[in-house]
Symmetry: C2
Amino acid sequence: MSSTINDVAKLAGVSRQTVSRVINNLPLVKPETVLEVQKAIALLDYHPNAVARNLAIKTVKTVGLFMPFDVEQVRQNMFFSTISATICHYYAKQDFVLQLFTSPDDRNYSELFKKLYREKRVGGLILTCPSVNNEDVMELLAAKIPFVIIGRPGLELEQINYVDVDNVKAAYLAVQRMLELGHRKICLLNAPSSMTLAVDIRKGAEEAYREANMPIGNLSEMHIDLTLKSAYEATLHVLSKDDRPTAFVTADDLIVLGIKKATDHLNLSIPTDLSVISVIKNGWADLLPMPLTYIDASFEDLGTRSAQFMLKTISEPEKKHMMQKKLKPELILGGTCARVAMPV
Amino acid sequence: MSSTINDVAKLAGVSRQTVSRVINNLPLVKPETVLEVQKAIALLDYHPNAVARNLAIKTVKTVGLFMPFDVEQVRQNMFFSTISATICHYYAKQDFVLQLFTSPDDRNYSELFKKLYREKRVGGLILTCPSVNNEDVMELLAAKIPFVIIGRPGLELEQINYVDVDNVKAAYLAVQRMLELGHRKICLLNAPSSMTLAVDIRKGAEEAYREANMPIGNLSEMHIDLTLKSAYEATLHVLSKDDRPTAFVTADDLIVLGIKKATDHLNLSIPTDLSVISVIKNGWADLLPMPLTYIDASFEDLGTRSAQFMLKTISEPEKKHMMQKKLKPELILGGTCARVAMPV
DNA sequence: TTGTAAGCGTTATCAG
DNA sequence: CTGATAACGCTTACAA
């Protein structure tokens, strides 16, 4: 058996309360006593039992990260890796810890979350969209479970905490750039319509058209799965039409790979025949032969901020913590965009 | 505050021991009493406190998954996602839980592991190669910390538990196939030499040459980072030589993408001018225009088996659990291999 | 500055 | 079958 606080106390010739004070760096302990205790701790190779501590302080320094995970949805994986690794790194310095959860077979998420929280397995949750729907969120709120969403929640309530990239702005920047370059017929290869991301991208694109006083009828849109295959097929379909668009704005850089595959097949070239900007860059773009023009936002920030928020929320439950943050994205010029050949 | 076992006991009019029996499905409880207790549990929305339980049973049903993580090493990410998601899925059905750890800044892994275990934050560890070196492993063994390695450990000791793909066999299959197709000059685009994977691939390749009675001098090898860039550069370098190989055997399918990029650049085509087989398929191959010929092994199995092993080890600490498993890989024919144009 | 006593919410032991 | 009573290892009053 490993040694306990009692063993240390006995060896150091003090009470266990004094040992507790020392390991928690509380003041009011005579320096000599501290040394004595530390010596005993080192001698016994004592490590405070986190389980017992959690029971005593009635706090669980564990954050659950929930991500809907489907091996086929490769884009998610990139996001998944980045977010989880970032949170891990952040918590490594604190004594918090990350627990991973992916979609169970049944979809009753809020029940699962409530169970985890009630059983004191997690002190709070970081949820990624679209792992939760509005009812789940309402249930979590009702159950007073601390949580934060990465992404924009479907509901606009001030009690709902989240961090997201300002995707409206991102799409606005992308489309604005295309319009500046003389493109008029722009096609949005957008995320599945169930995602708030898709709604935001549409909104930003429309804003850009409106601001430029362009007829919004020229803006076309397709909702596709975030997979190479559906991007490829969608591109072939769109480009086979008579009045094909001269520019694509995509929800993800994996889609750009699909577009590239399609243009290669059709003997078209980027950016000469077709301009492309991606609203999100997940890492796929490195596989392109040319640098991608895209809208940059820090996913690391998403992870760090959510991790920090949960840490504060759990550590200081008496305070009301709030966060409704939209990170500002930025246009990064690459080589997949060009002035339109013949402006309409 | 949420309700405790005492509240349930009081409401059901029994002792808390009886409640404990009911929630743990122990026999020797009168059916009527069970019903009474269950009613109380439902009424109070009672959830047993896992922290208190762990303290009482002195067992931590938490497994730490440690992966060295570097955003640049993209290959790892694919592996990372697959393994962690698989383990999560497996544990979701049990009441075990996965805690994620990625490389901290300092490299003193065994210290970290010992701390986590002593502090009862984890009941055991799943380690992925090459997150640990031989000294770390010896320290874990000495400290009697339950752990299992995904990958082949550098040391051959029967106390060290692991699951791995039989990469010797995998490389053997790949090279054997190339030899059958008439290739003689084969180049191994191998993993970094620090990885046991690299050693195994080399070994399997040599076995295939030996068995075919081919001069091993025709087998060349390069150790490269598992990144697109280094694969691209290595390929350009290898193909610029006078007696260029007619076939590549790679440690990963991301490397194949690098080869493809290089052959595109050199106006060579796969498989006409160059045959390629990958010893590992992580998911990148979907981005190729043709199906990849590769050696298949189930990463899901790696995750499930290690998860299961740790579960048993933690749940039944009295027994000695052992696992030294090498999964058998299999050749999957795709379109990146052809009979050599002019056999030497 | 230090020690004592009383929890935290379970499970284990042993008697009934 | 059921119920006291004592752990489990730590923290938090409160007392000295």
